[in-house]
Amino acid sequence: MGSKKMQIAVIGAGVAGLASALNIQTALPQTQVTIFCDKKDTETTSYGAGGLFRANEAYYPDLDLTKFRKYVQSSFEFYDKVAHSEEAGKAGIFVISGYELYHGKRVEPPVGHDYVYSCRELSKEELQRIPGNYSGGYFVTTLVMESRKYLCWMMEKFVKNRGRLVERKIQSFDELSDYEVVVNCSGLGSYHLVPDPKVYPSRGSLIRLNAPWIKHYYISMSDYGYIIPNTDMVVIGGINQHDREDTHFLQEDADVIMSKLEQYDPSLKTAEVVNKWVGLRPCREGTFRLEKDIRYFPSGSIIKIVHNYGHSHIGISLSWGSGCEVARLVQELITSHTSKL
């Protein structure tokens, strides 16, 4: 084949797509990676997310826990390295602590908390000092990967590593028959593209505030309200509406969010609202899809695919680890091809 590089296509420029592309570039330097996307940067679902590292297995009833732990651990190890490097500020990856609280019956911490810096159960005295009458909770030290910065930082690296970006919506995998492997990180787009009827949106609204005195995060494990400090702004949210696809921010969203948070932190009411955002989480029934696939088309094309979509609420958290796994699967597909020759 001469010195021509092996061509890999990645569909999607959200966290999954970018993390996959970067991992392929590093693990497989003999390849040329091209990202195809119809949305990038501010238009992606990833962009608006709060970015808290919180790998909660509860979103995936059909999860393979062993593999999940592997992805979670490799994700955290990577973010940890960046957080303690010169690049932390640029990448938007930083250490943060916070409170995760619940009402009523005891809630266990998510599996992902086995990998964070620390997860400590709060004492009765500590709980008493927290407004809101919580029956239990945890004080956790973990990381934030602030999406908007993280995406930008990854894109810069991708381009620096000679990655190509093509802004084009892919309607069928068959369009990419010239590529050795296609990596599908199309998120909600997989509903039509694959097609995968298990994919569904979960609407989330959030507000960004100017509240620089808030240095801790907060998660209500009972009603999903949350406060997540980002670099320059504080993200507040608490909306999780299955099967809704409208992306307009509504006054009722703001009312619901504030009602979940104002008792816990009255200072939120005094903070200036900077912007409001709605995103549709790319959920998938059962579990996210991270596996190899081969598709045959009437044109005669045989397309080798690695799927990496349907991460629901924890796309940012899992992005790096799933990207690592993608590179490994791409390697397997390439190797199995060459061994046939």
């Binding site: 940890d80 303690h84 490097s85 938007g92 004080f139 240095k215």
Partner: protein, 334 residues
């Protein structure tokens, strides 16, 4: 109406003045100072609430009482809408050491929200090869906001400011019934106090809003403390009165801090500041009646020499000073 003068408009003077107003409704309080607001020693401090028994000399029971009173007050403000006006907010962070000996006594742990020893795994995540660490949940009283907030309260409650450098207590006899002396390092001259010593600090303020927690490297006194919009980076503690900024000191500070926080390398410096911590062995918190040659007397309460913990102790010692004033008022006439 009782006329009370407070000398000094730093954190201690202002907190004392506000306490006096709140406890003594019939008093007219005047704050007399040569420096206000951003010119005070308090202004440049990081504002971290950190009980430091090794750096602040006070009998243990008084140490505990003053810290506890301060922390209870700040904790109560933090839960209200006033928190951001007051510059008082919760913060967590690490105290790290290069040897394995340090132990934090239980009575100190009880003075903040919590202190836990850090696991090895967590300690290893901080670059710099530290041997032991504690994770602390505490508060910050950011002087940039805390001082103006106290000032606003003071004025609202009828307080008066007087810009004047008091050179002798004699000036105030017959004008004020009681004087509360919160003059900080000024006590060297005003009180001929030979127990005072200056601990020079030099800091840089940077824009590094991704840093949400503090790290204090105890052995070499290097630290960074996030405030609202800026992060204070420091690492100088020399016995010296020199208010001149030193490039060498700054270079040494960065050298040490960048080892445990490499991300600060790219942070923009927005301010540099030098301050003299007014240290005294022990902190002076007591009543006195000063007699003058002409036979006149002046009731005084001293509240100065807090060194590294002026912001931390401001409210608690302000309460103590107020109690001493009340004792002066109820004591038999001179």
């Amino acid at each position: 109406m009782t006329k009370i003068a407070v000398i000094g408009a730093g954190a201690v003077g202002m907190a004392t003045a506000v306490n006096l107003q709140q406890q003594l409704h019939s008093a007219q309080v005047t704050v007399i100072a040569d420096k206000f607001g951003t010119d005070t020693t308090s202004h440049g401090a990081g504002g971290l609430f950190r009980p430091a028994p090794d750096m602040v000399d006070m009998p243990q029971d008084i140490f505990v009482r003053c810290h506890r009173q301060s922390y209870e007050f700040f904790s109560q403000v933090v839960q209200t809408e006033e928190a951001c006006d007051a510059g008082i907010f919760r913060i967590s962070g690490y105290l790290v050491y290069r040897d394995t000996e340090p132990v934090i006594p239980t009575y100190v742990k009880d003075l903040v929200s919590s202190i836990h020893e850090v696991s090895e795994k967590e300690l290893r995540s901080i670059p710099g090869n530290f041997k032991k660490g504690f994770f602390v949940q505490t508060l910050i009283m950011e002087p940039k906001y805390y001082l103006p907030w106290l000032t606003k309260k003071f004025l609202k409650q009828g307080g008066i400011f007087l810009k004047h450098k008091v050179t002798s207590f004699q000036e105030l006899v017959g004008v004020y019934d009681i004087v509360v002396n919160c003059c900080g390092y000024g006590a060297v001259q005003l009180c001929n106090d030979t127990k005072m010593y200056p601990h020079r600090g030099q800091v840089a303020r940077v824009k590094a809003p991704w840093l949400k927690q503090f790290i204090l490297s105890y052995s070499d006194y290097s630290y960074y403390i996030p405030n609202s919009e800026t992060v204070v980076v420091g690492g100088i503690s020399q016995v010296s009165e020199d208010l001149q900024y030193s490039k060498e000191d700054e270079a040494s500070m960065w050298d040490r801090v960048l080892k445990f926080e490499p991300s600060l390398k790219n942070a923009e410096v927005v301010d540099r500041w030098v301050g003299i911590r007014p240290c005294r062995n022990p902190v002076r918190l007591e009543k006195e009646v000063i007699s003058f040659q002409d036979g006149r007397k002046l009731k005084v309460v001293h509240n100065y020499g807090h060194g590294h913990s002026g912001i931390t102790l401001s409210w608690g010692t302000g309460m103590e000073a107020t109690k001493f004033v009340q004792e002066h008022l109820t004591s038999s006439k001179l």
